[in-house]
């Protein structure tokens, strides 16, 4: 189960996991088809839903479980990336960002993890950002939401570890996706030059870390954050 598969990173998670032989159910406000992702029809299923509708999340999960079965893994990827100086950001923008980036994934995880507890196995991956630790101008509210998800990751890992469920976060650096396009070319170039590898990490490189965490090889990793940023925060 992956949220936000209409975006660049979400689509990369879906295609990488399907290539690794997982079936994927994507959730996004916009429709996404298997053809959009270039994957076989029977491997990708999509549900159009607005995760900002917090009260509808329990029913959404029940419906998905009834249709596709109990989830093995969940990637909380969907997020709003509004940037702006905090003093002039509209309250509604801050509230909707907290709802979509923090409240929705926590509630979605609440309902999804129940099925993993019952099955005594599972994987939860929360998509954070290097901004949770490094900070970046204009991303105070966004950074707060991402740091929240890292705290959530660590405590939930302790809660559910006894049932062989791992909970981790992936913190991508700046990626060339729609979400960062608003930062402007000069800013992006500056970030790129500052990275140890002198480039951005690619969405495929970030997705590869999710494949690892989902796999049997990742069974011993929980409560941590994997940073994939081409050394931008090194």
């Amino acid at each position: 189960m992956i949220t936000g598969t209409s975006g660049g990173l979400g689509a990369a998670f879906a295609t990488a996991l399907i290539a690794a032989d997982y079936d994927v159910v994507g959730i996004a406000r916009r429709d996404v088809t298997a053809a959009d992702l270039g994957v076989p029809d029977d491997r990708y299923h999509h549900r159009q839903a607005d995760l900002g509708d917090i009260d509808g999340i329990g029913e959404l999960v029940s419906d998905l479980v009834a249709t596709y079965g109990k989830p093995y893994g969940l990637i909380n990827n969907s997020a709003l990336g509004a940037d702006g100086m905090l003093p002039t950001m509209h309250n509604s923008e801050i509230e909707s960002m907290v709802a979509v980036n923090v409240t929705a994934p926590i509630i979605l995880t609440k309902y999804a993890v129940r099925h993993m507890l019952s099955a005594r196995r599972g994987r939860i991956i929360n998509v954070s950002s290097v901004v949770a630790k490094t900070g970046y101008r204009g991303l105070a509210a966004y950074g707060a939401t991402k740091a929240s998800m890292e705290g959530f990751t660590r405590s939930l890992a302790r809660d559910v570890g006894r049932r062989k469920i791992t909970v981790n976060a992936i913190a991508p650096g700046f990626l060339a996706t729609d979400m960062t396009s608003g930062l402007g070319d000069s800013n992006l170039e500056r970030i790129e030059k500052r990275a140890a590898l002198q480039r951005f990490a690619s969405v495929d490189e970030v997705a590869a870390s999710a494949v690892y965490l989902m796999s049997d090889a990742g069974a011993g990793v929980t409560g941590t954050v994997i940073t994939v940023d081409a050394g931008g925060s090194a």
Binding site: G58, R114, L117, S118, D159, V160, R162, R163
Partner: protein, 84 residues
């Protein structure tokens, strides 16, 4: 099957799976005094949702935490859909 017997059946399964000593569940049994921990009760609620088709803890407007077995059964009986 009554709600009480459905709960007891799921509890029995959970105690067996976790290889715990199952006490006799009477009205006054304090849930967290049994060997089943809070995570175990989360699994119980999930399985009852699958079995009975409803989760009272998601339906209630204000959070309520049952202490005794009777509290737990009462909550399920109170929120049971008419046909259950």
């Amino acid at each position: 099957m009554t709600i009480r017997s459905a709960i007891l059946e799921q509890l029995t399964e959970l105690f067996e799976e976790d290889e715990l000593d199952m006490p006799e569940f009477v009205d006054e049994t304090v849930l967290l005094d049994t060997e089943l921990d809070s995570l175990g009760f989360a699994v119980l609620v999930t399985r009852l949702d699958e079995e009975l088709g409803f989760d009272p803890f998601s339906m209630m407007d204000e959070p309520v935490y049952p202490v005794t077995f009777k509290d737990f059964v009462d909550i399920y009986e109170r929120f049971a859909p008419d046909e259950a």
